[in-house]
Amino acid sequence: MKNAIKGMLIVLAVVALPLSATAQQLFDFNGQAIVPAAVGGTLSMYSVMYDPAPQTTPLPLDFDNFEYTLVVSGAILDVNGNPQSYVGGVLTIYEDAGTAADFANTATFTDGTAILVGSFTSLNRIVFLSTGSVQGYLDWNGGAWLNDIAPEDQTGWAFLAGTNSRSPEPGYSEIWDGKVEPPTIIVDEDLSSFGSVKALFK
């Protein structure tokens, strides 16, 4: 019986190894931003998240049963050049099974459960022609799922969005299409020989 359990554990361990393959991890979003006109103004952005398959989300998200929204709020324009530089700012990811997100009502993006809350450590926006980029970094420090990310993996996540001002929704300045990404894959993965796996159970 003991050997049978050992064998089963070994098989499970070996089968589990391919699941931790090298797929990149990121949160993908597509939204609308309100960009301030002058220093001291506040930037905000409301977006819907999508399944980035074949890449994976850093934490498992149930896109079949929930809507996930990603919201940037409270970023203050500090330097109004090209690039612009912002200070402060919070990024929140919500999980919601209720009201569908509607750009005509920003409250539909901030209902549900705040599963991750992060603070920007830097945020810059640059415009080239009608398109541009927003790039920054953030640290997670709140939300219902914060403890699902190991403390050493909660800092230094990259934020990147492409922007265009050609045809935003009424009341918005730009369309933002981007991602939030950990600096490295946050799920542990180790390449292990079959012998080393067996050795774990001796």
Binding site: L26, P54, P83, I126, F128, T131, S133, I185
Partner: protein, 220 residues
């Protein structure tokens, strides 16, 4: 037999016009994520070729693609760099040539691997049925002063694929988004940039929101 223009016919015509207005202004988009590399010369240098492989994360419902059972894969090739130039303190690179191919593939096996070209990239991004093929008429990359991120934008002429003339007529195809180099992004070994962008189809005919009264006034 004398043809008469009856009120009923007028109403039918007006209804058809009103219903047609939103279709003219519709933008159909396909969101994608992927990675790119250059080959043939020093990075960014004139003559170097940019290649991108990507997969869709969102597709407009009008296309009828179910990303749960099939994937849309993107393969951009043949974009030849004209070399970097200054753009108000930033860097701009214009490219010439270039083809975009989009495939609809039920195998769902797209895999970037490492050090492209390799056994799966671009090969696994060129499988399935041809959804769209277009020739770039313009393509530009813009880099911030650090060179670590920026945006890209291009326009295309559609030349083949199942969606040609299937979604709108007289369409304009655009390809744009943001990119980031290995700093801050999980770029697979051997790739240069991560790209996140949108492929859009827009009617070339401009559109305006119109009230029922204003439409009727056209016929007064």
């Amino acid at each position: 037999m004398k043809k008469t223009f009856t009120p009923c016919a007028l109403v039918s015509l007006l209804l058809a016009l009103v219903l047609a207005v939103p279709a003219l202004g519709q933008v159909y988009s396909v969101d994608y994520l992927g990675y790119g590399w250059e080959q043939g010369g020093p990075l960014k240098a004139a003559g170097d070729e940019l290649i991108i492989t990507a997969t869709s994360t969102y597709v407009h419902p009008a296309f009828g693609v179910d990303l749960g059972t099939e994937e849309l894969t993107f393969y951009v090739s043949g974009l030849i760099s004209n070399g970097p130039t200054d753009f108000f303190g930033n860097t701009q690179i214009n490219y010439t040539g270039g083809i975009l191919e989009i495939y609809q593939d039920p195998l769902m096996n797209a895999d970037w691997g490492v050090n492209p070209p390799n056994a799966t990239s671009p090969g696994s991004f060129q499988e399935g049925s041809l959804f769209f093929a277009g020739a770039f008429t313009a393509f530009t990359m813009f880099f911030d002063p650090s060179g670590s991120y920026g945006s890209f934008e291009g326009t295309l002429d559609g030349v083949a694929g199942s969606i040609i003339d299937g979604v709108c007529s007289d369409c304009v195809y655009t390809w744009g988004g943001a990119f980031q180099t290995g700093s801050g992004a999980q770029v697979p070994e051997g790739y240069w940039i991560q790209v996140d962008g949108v492929f859009e189809i827009d009617a070339a005919v401009s559109s305006e929101a119109a009230s029922w009264g204003s439409v009727k006034a056209l016929f007064n």
